[in-house]
């Protein structure tokens, strides 16, 4: 189990009702972590078209997570 800091932005922050939380998790990737967060926060939907960053670097949904990482969940940006 790892301690991971999670930050939610914009629509995700409003849907979860929190901007920041620390989670103790067995998730190995942002994708697994997002799925776990979605079971906890029912407003959180699929992450398709969303972006993820780890420790202020844009990341892949299947990247590895390490103890103490900060994971940023970005809903799709406004575009046009």
């Amino acid at each position: 189990m790892k301690n991971i800091k999670v930050r939610y932005f914009a629509a995700y922050r409003e849907e979860t009702g929190v901007g920041f939380e620390t989670i103790t998790t067995g998730a190995n990737s942002p994708a697994e972590l997002f799925a776990e967060c979605a079971t906890k926060h029912e407003g959180l939907q699929s992450y398709s078209a969303a972006l993820v960053a780890i420790n202020d670097e844009m990341s892949d949904w299947n990247a590895a997570l390490s103890e103490g990482d900060e994971v940023l969940f970005f809903p799709p940006v406004a575009g046009g």
Binding site: F9, A10, A11, E14, E15, G43, Q45, S46, S48, A49, A50, L51, A53, D56, M58, L72, F74, P75, P76, V77, A78, G79, G80
Partner: protein, 146 residues
């Protein structure tokens, strides 16, 4: 010169333009994004940009660097607002100076397109009917809106 900035203050497009003046350049192309009074059939009263600044600045700078390298322009800059904006406020400005106009047009277009697609910036629109919505959430499977 900072090439890409996020600011919570009103953008002055003329001061922005002046920092790109260069006697080696015959062409300057500027794009302004203005707060528009309508979107998808709704009357918009004002809007709010939420920006994750550390990554927005880093990614904005990457886009500027890409444009300079790809199109061979001389100078390029961008600035994007955060916070609450009123109608006709300037939300974003991109400027490119270059010896010739072909490259300046292409680079300016590239920067604004990439900026809108890649920067962690979210727009919430406040409507005349009292509702507010994170724009484009409707296209990504979210049913709930603030």
């Amino acid at each position: 010169m900072k090439h890409f900035e996020i600011t919570s203050q009103a953008i002055d497009p003329d001061a922005f333009r002046k920092q790109l003046l260069d006697p080696a350049c015959g062409a300057y192309v500027q794009f302004d994004g203005w707060v528009r009074n309508h979107n998808e059939g709704q009357s918009v009263l004002r809007l709010e940009y939420e920006v994750y600044e550390p990554l927005a600045v880093k990614e904005g700078q990457s886009i500027i660097d890409e444009a300079i390298e790809r199109f061979g322009v001389t100078n390029a800059c961008g600035v994007h607002r955060s916070g609450l904006l009123e109608l006709s406020d300037v939300a974003v400005v991109v400027g490119v100076s270059s010896p010739h106009r072909d490259a300046a047009f292409a680079a300016c277009r590239y920067i604004i397109d990439e900026t809108k697609a890649r920067l962690p910036i979210w727009k919430k629109e406040y409507y005349e009917n009292g509702q507010a919505e994170w724009v484009n959430c409707k296209h990504c499977g979210h049913r709930e809106h603030g």
